[in-house]
């Protein structure tokens, strides 16, 4: 995100960039509507900027605990055929996807 700083409202170009990063295909009307929603929500959450958070350690989880680690031992796992059967499209033992590389490679 480069076209505006954190104090300015997102432009239509910013929103198009966000949609691309979000891997969403939005038409111009949907982008415009998304910008309106984003503006309203950002305006609402702007009150966070009024709080003094100097020196406050960010808290990514609600408890300052560390996750437990499991022993690194093999266990049962799901069968490959079961997992492949969930894919929208398969070819043999593979999940089929559109061409990833462009003409002549990328």
């Amino acid at each position: 995100m480069t076209s505006s700083d954190s104090n300015s409202a997102p432009t239509l170009a910013d929103v198009a960039k966000v949609a691309a990063l979000s891997r969403l295909a939005l038409d111009p009307d949907a982008l415009d509507s998304a910008r309106g929603d984003l503006l309203a929500i950002l305006q609402h959450v702007a009150n966070l900027q009024t709080l003094d958070v100097e020196g406050v350690e960010p808290m990514p989880k609600p408890q300052d605990t560390v996750n437990r680690l499991a022993e690194d031992v093999p266990g049962p796992s799901l069968d490959r055929d079961v997992l492949l059967a969930m894919a929208p499209k398969t070819e043999g033992h593979f999940i089929a996807v559109p061409k990833v590389l462009g003409e002549g490679g990328a």
Partner: protein
């Protein structure tokens, strides 16, 4: 069979002698069977689903087989577990190998989980019969169950009103007598607010108490599974079955889970009830204010100490939540790309992988989910991360500290679960007005503390009598005292 009441003069309270706990006992005593009980609920599901729409899928065959097996084991003198005889509904974002797990989304319309969530395994191991999967806001994003891709769920207390959300179908299944209890998930109030709107008990335990293995992830630092029930003791009974460490969820706590109701209700004379000033404001419906005042008076009358508490960060909770939750959702939902499972857009000639991802996601996700993914992506992007995401995590610590300070003065905090009773379907279409529903509930998720909503009585709006909920919040891992206190207040509220 309890049927939904539309009589405005009816009580919002379930008969205290008719909850899961007593029903399970009557099966054990041979007065009825699981199968008989299940059949009446299947009939209720069939007759009410066209109007209420609580269920996306009723697991008729599986439920019948489970009930028959439970009854056979009881007849043979075996103990199938503490929930034997009960019929329980499951929110559709909890993975079950039986039926589909759609999350209320076209993205997972035909998704069948290859594994059961830990909570499902624990319910079945405890003898419960699972009746079906309940409708919900898409990916649990909503407070009214109106964002469900399969259509809105309706409130049995007012058919043109929302049941709350996102666990709306679960609340309706309990309120309408289609299940003895239900599982929901709560990321910002999604168990407690629908429980309040439908006159049920809804319990969100401490973050880390119940495994989320098999819960479709929304906001991983906020999500918690919990029960919706007819009574506090039912909530305790299910909580005890579900809670405890799980090797499949590294965030589960290994603190011991104690039998919550073993010592009975809390002695009200030794109870210190904190009243957060910021939860008693003019934003509340006048009926909500009046009910709360009466309940506080009755607490005083039985000797409880009422303590004024300041929670000045209350109004920053929604802002904090609507940065953290979308940020986490944008990351969690990146897995839905049409490749390995779930919806895939029809291929178009010459289209590459990137285009397929984007079209799949735009066609598979509904508007609210797309809105939150974009918001989350925005607050996490370079240039905005510090101003929004990092700052929200700092405010989260301040909110946690505010609760810590409050709980040095009181045992529980008491306030309304929602500022108002159930609203009309379609009344809150603007995102912000919908988000503000959760003003009193989100901070418990932000701070990871346990919170419960219990029925608070009825208020009147436009000639309709509608249930409201009372929220009780307690320090992290204090479920035992919270449930005992909730049980005490549950009895008091009935006569207040």
């Amino acid at each position: 069979m309890t049927t939904p009441s539309t009589d405005p003069n009816s009580s919002s309270f379930f008969d205290p002698g008719d909850d899961l706990t007593t029903r399970v006992q009557s099966v054990r005593d041979g007065k009825t069977t699981t199968s008989l009980r299940l059949e009446s609920m299947l009939t209720a599901a069939e007759s009410t689903n066209p109007s209420l729409h609580a269920f996306h899928e009723v697991l008729t065959d599986f439920a019948r087989a489970t009930a028959a097996s439970v009854d056979a084991r009881l007849a043979a003198g075996e103990d199938p577990g503490p929930l034997a005889g009960s019929v329980i509904a499951v929110k559709d974002n909890i993975c079950t190998t039986e039926g589909r797990t759609t999350c209320g989304s076209r993205m997972l319309e035909n998704y069948r989980s290859p594994f059961d969530a830990t909570v499902i395994t624990r319910l079945l191991d405890a003898g419960a019969t699972l009746i079906g999967k309940t409708n919900m806001d898409e990916f649990a994003m909503g407070s009214s169950t109106e964002t469900c891709a399969w259509g809105p769920v309706r409130n049995p207390h007012g058919i043109n009103r929302v049941p709350g959300g996102s666990s709306g179908g679960s609340a309706v299944a309990v309120a309408a007598g289609i299940a003895d209890a239900a599982l929901g998930s709560d990321t910002g109030g999604s168990i407690r607010q629908p429980a309040a709107f439908c006159g049920c008990v809804g319990f969100k335990p401490t973050y880390g108490r119940i495994s989320r293995f098999g819960l479709v992830a929304f906001g991983s630092s906020l999500d918690q599974i919990g029960p919706l029930t007819r009574s506090v003791r039912d909530a305790a009974a299910i909580y005890e079955v579900l809670a405890g460490v799980d090797s499949n969820d590294a965030t589960t706590s290994d603190l011991p889970v104690e039998p919550s109701m073993a010592d009975g209700p809390f002695d009200p004379a030794s109870l210190r009830v904190g009243i957060p000033r910021e939860h008693y404001t003019t934003r509340n419906h006048p009926g909500v204010t009046e009910r709360l005042e009466r309940i506080i008076d009755s607490l005083r009358a039985v000797g409880a100490t009422i303590i004024d508490i300041d929670l000045p960060l209350t109004d920053y909770g929604i802002s904090t939540y609507y940065v953290i939750a979308p940020a986490e959702a944008s990351s969690n939902l990146s897995r839905y790309d049409g490749i390995r499972y779930g919806y895939r857009a029809d291929p178009r000639p010459g289209e590459g992988l990137e285009e397929l991802y984007a079209r799949t996601r735009s066609e598979g996700f509904g508007p609210e989910v797309q809105r939150r993914i974009m918001l989350g992506t925005y607050v996490l992007s370079a240039g905005y991360y510090g101003a929004y995401y990092k700052r929200a995590l700092q405010v989260r610590r301040l909110i946690k500290q505010e609760f810590d300070a409050a709980f040095t003065k009181c045992d529980v905090l008491l306030g309304p679960t929602s500022p108002h009773p159930a609203f009309q379907i379609g009344a809150k279409l603007e995102p912000i007005s919908m988000y503000l529903n959760d003003v009193y509930t989100v901070n418990a998720n932000i701070a990871g503390i346990p919170a419960i909503s219990i029925p608070g009585g009825m208020v009147e709006e436009n000639g309709e009598a509608l249930p409201i909920g009372l929220q009780l919040q307690a320090p992290a891992f204090h479920e035992t005292s919270l449930l005992r206190i909730a049980s005490t207040i549950e009895s008091l509220v009935r006569s207040a």
